[in-house]
């Protein structure tokens, strides 16, 4: 479904990603882990072109998204993203946060969008919050709304950029539960995370990045029991 070939990204002289090649199949859940500054987030952001790759190709379902001839907004509609700091639209109610893009971009009627919005809110357990403003929500609730907002566009792929890093510990669980639930529905997902337990349980594949390189790409059980590289072993030692 996603085919990444020789992806590199530099900011000025700084090489953030170096020659990453990999592929993700439909329904696969990938947890991307690694020390901070290893390029995890940048890798994820390349996949919906929030960062423009310096070199290499990213092919999603046969479409090369790095080809400037392709419409970026079109591609982004197929690839949802959930951010560390939620980035809900503060001037819109929860419901409007969710329905805005489907109505404006996909042309859904207000009624259709609202029906769908209610379904999604139910799915993330927040149906009673439809008409409040984001400022009234807790961090965990905000993140669940953000997930619902992404899902409203019916993306084929969902990217999570450290979805629980900005949350108080007691709220991490509720968000992870939602993501786990999504994984069970067969959504293709790439998740940058520091939650090792979660990565181990929810992911099909672990990507270990360090220094902008994809060092290891492994089955979770195998990775956590016996990492192949020495760097991964050292990293696991520090975080576990």
């Amino acid at each position: 479904m996603i085919d990444v070939q020789h992806l590199s990204k530099t900011f000025g002289k700084l090489e953030v990603l170096r020659d990453i090649s990999t592929s993700v199949s439909r329904g696969e859940v990938v947890a991307i882990i690694g020390p901070s500054g290893s390029g995890k987030s940048t890798f994820l952001r390349c996949l919906n072109l929030l960062e423009t790759p310096t070199e290499g190709q990213i092919i999603i379902d046969g479409t090369d998204i790095t080809d400037p001839k392709n419409d970026i907004t079109r591609i982004r509609q197929r690839v949802g993203m959930v951010f560390q700091h939620f980035h809900l639209f503060p001037h819109m109610t929860v419901m409007n946060n969710i329905t805005f893009a489907p109505m404006k971009v996909k042309g859904l009627s207000a009624e259709e969008a609202r029906t769908k919005g209610l379904q999604l809110l139910e799915r993330v357990g927040l149906q009673d919050k439809a008409d409040v403003y984001p400022s009234k929500l807790s961090g965990g609730q905000k993140q669940r709304v953000a997930i619902a907002r992404s899902l409203a566009m019916d993306p084929e792929i969902l990217l999570f950029d450290e979805p629980t890093s900005a949350l108080d510990p007691e709220m991490v669980k509720e968000v992870l539960a939602v993501i786990r639930d999504l994984a069970s529905t067969g959504m293709t997902m790439l998740i940058v995370t520091h939650e090792m337990k979660f990565a181990r349980e929810a992911a099909n594949t672990i990507y270990f990045l360090d220094g902008g390189k994809l060092i290891e790409r492994a089955d979770p059980e195998q990775f956590f029991r016996q990492p192949q590289s020495e760097r991964a072993a050292r990293f696991l030692e520090q975080v576990l």
């Binding site: 509609q77 809900l88 503060p90 404006k104 984001p134």
Partner: protein, 512 residues
């Protein structure tokens, strides 16, 4: 907060309709209805029609002819502020008679006296009748008809000074109207300090305030003002040799000059001219002006209040249009400034620098006088004012809005981009509403400034509050009362505006 969104969009649509409709006659007649022009008030439509006048001369039966005048010079020309706000006076009667004889329909365009020559040279008007004397200097740039009236000059001074001859004015402070023939009289004065003012009423006020000792004013006008200001007196001075009297002025080489001379000659012969003169200078001169007593007497405004208050509409309409135009254009400029396309950035930067670096009054006057000359489009005063103020305001607002946009969390853009929302929709619905919330106080300041600065547009003859106060000042000969009155109105307008802004701000804070 979809209400906010709707509000923004409505505002955007509104500006489009308004600016788009700016040139159409509906909007113009709306504007025209509040102007202090003669006739049914559709001067703007008249001016608009005048652009096509040259083409129309051959075929149209009743051609329109536009006369420029400065209606603060009763009994020659003044605004009938107590009546319908029309321009009346001896010059108007004569002009109407001539236009009628020649088969023209007369439209009157009012402006400051010292703007009349420019209006003639730019062919903004076909002729000027404004108690204008023939002088050698003026003959260089415009043509004159034969003279239709010869006035004499007087010295107006306070009752106790009561100057009777020019010799007494040695070392005194003398006022004279800028661009008038009386200027010549003051040139002959030795040792006097001469202050040139735009309008007669200003000079009267300066004498009353003790900042001038005397003013050189012609007889009929002096009579008018000393009647309404009993503490002032006037004395005739002998006519100077080169005095050729008042005449009608035309652009150089105008074909109208001969026609007008012919009709004037007829009027002199058949007594019509004398009849009109008698009507305006006769002693049965209509209702006597209310005499003010004391320093400030608001009683003099009796009958003028509704005329003054109608200026509120013009001032508000103008403020609304220029604020909206300035906001939308300012928003576009701010997008240029943050865009990655270099030429757009440069354009916006140079634009802001030029409009902030030159006086607004200068821009206003340039737009009004230069537009017809450079583009051939006969821009109306209100259009020129809206354009100048909108463009100027946009320069300031673009900086404010740019700051507001940059203050919106970068994550908002990324979230919108990640949802596949196109740039325009993102800006209008996601970024601007948040930016506006932070810059609302600055926007309100700009609107308040616009309300007050709108008083500048009176200079090019738009009948806003300030212009109307000037008219009433000319009519009553009293300066302070109408000025204090409109000062209070301006203050109330600003108070209402800021209260509305506070309400709006509270609504926008709902999402916090």
């Amino acid at each position: 907060m979809s209400k906010m969104l709707k509000w923004t969009l409505t505002a955007l649509v509104g500006i489009l309709v308004l600016t788009g409709g700016f040139t159409n006659v509906h909007a113009l007649s709306l504007f025209g209805s509040g102007s202090d022009q003669a006739g049914s008030g559709d001067l703007f439509a008249g001016l608009l029609g005048e652009t096509s006048q040259e083409a129309a001369t051959d075929n149209a039966e009743k051609k329109t002819i536009v006369m420029g005048t400065s209606p603060d010079y009763a009994p020659y020309e003044s605004v009938d502020a107590k009546g319908g706000g029309e321009i009346i006076g001896m010059d108007i009667d004569i002009a109407n008679h001539i236009a009628d004889k020649l088969g023209y329909e007369l439209k009157i365009s009012s402006m400051d006296f010292n703007g009349l020559l420019a209006a003639l040279q730019t062919k903004r008007v076909d002729f000027v009748m404004s108690a204008m004397s023939v002088t050698e200097e003026r003959k260089q740039s415009i043509d004159f008809s034969d003279s239709y009236y010869a006035a004499r000059n007087t010295i107006v001074s306070s009752e106790e000074d009561n100057f009777t001859s020019l010799d007494q004015l040695k070392g005194k402070r003398i006022g004279v109207q800028l661009g008038s023939t009386q200027e010549k009289v003051t040139q002959e004065l030795k040792d006097a300090s001469v202050k040139k003012l735009n309008r007669i009423p200003d000079m009267i006020q300066e004498i009353r305030a003790g900042r001038l000792d005397a003013a050189i004013i012609e007889d009929a006008i002096a009579l008018e003002y000393t009647t309404s200001n009993p503490e002032l007196k006037f004395n005739m001075i002998p006519a100077s040799s080169g005095d050729e009297g008042y005449a009608i002025a035309f652009p150089k080489g105008s074909a109208l000059t001969n026609d007008f001379n012919r009709v004037l000659e007829e009027m002199k012969n058949d007594g019509t001219l004398q009849a009109i003169t008698d009507k305006w200078f006769g002693n049965e001169n209509e209702e006597e002006n209310k005499r003010g007593s004391g320093v400030i007497d608001f009683g003099v405004l009796e009958g003028y209040a509704s005329y003054l208050l109608r200026g509120v509409f013009i001032t508000l309409l103008f403020t609304f249009v220029s604020a909206l135009f300035g906001f939308v254009w300012g928003a576009i400029l701010s997008l240029f400034k943050i865009s990655s396309i270099k030429p757009l950035q440069w354009f916006a930067t140079v634009y802001t620098s030029v409009f902030r670096g030159t006086p607004l009054l200068l821009q206003l006057i340039l737009f009004y006088y230069a537009t017809p000359q450079l583009t051939g489009y006969d821009i109306t005063a209100l259009q020129a004012a809206g354009l100048a103020f909108g463009l100027n305001s946009a320069a300031y607002l673009s900086e404010t809005i740019r700051g507001g946009i940059l203050a919106v969390d970068k994550g908002q853009r990324e979230a919108a981009m990640a949802l596949g929302i196109p740039y325009g929709t993102m800006m209008v619905s996601i970024i601007f509403p948040q930016a506006i919330k932070t810059i609302l106080p600055a926007l309100v300041n700009e609107c308040v400034a616009l309300v007050k600065e709108s008083s500048l547009i009176s200079v090019i003859g738009v009948a806003d509050l300030m212009r109307r106060a000037n008219v009433v000042q000319a009519d009553t000969g009293r300066a302070l009362e109408p000025l204090l009155f409109i000062g209070a109105i301006y203050y109330i307008l600003v108070l209402v505006l800021t209260s509305l802004a506070r309400l709006l701000e509270r609504r926008m804070r709902r999402s916090d």
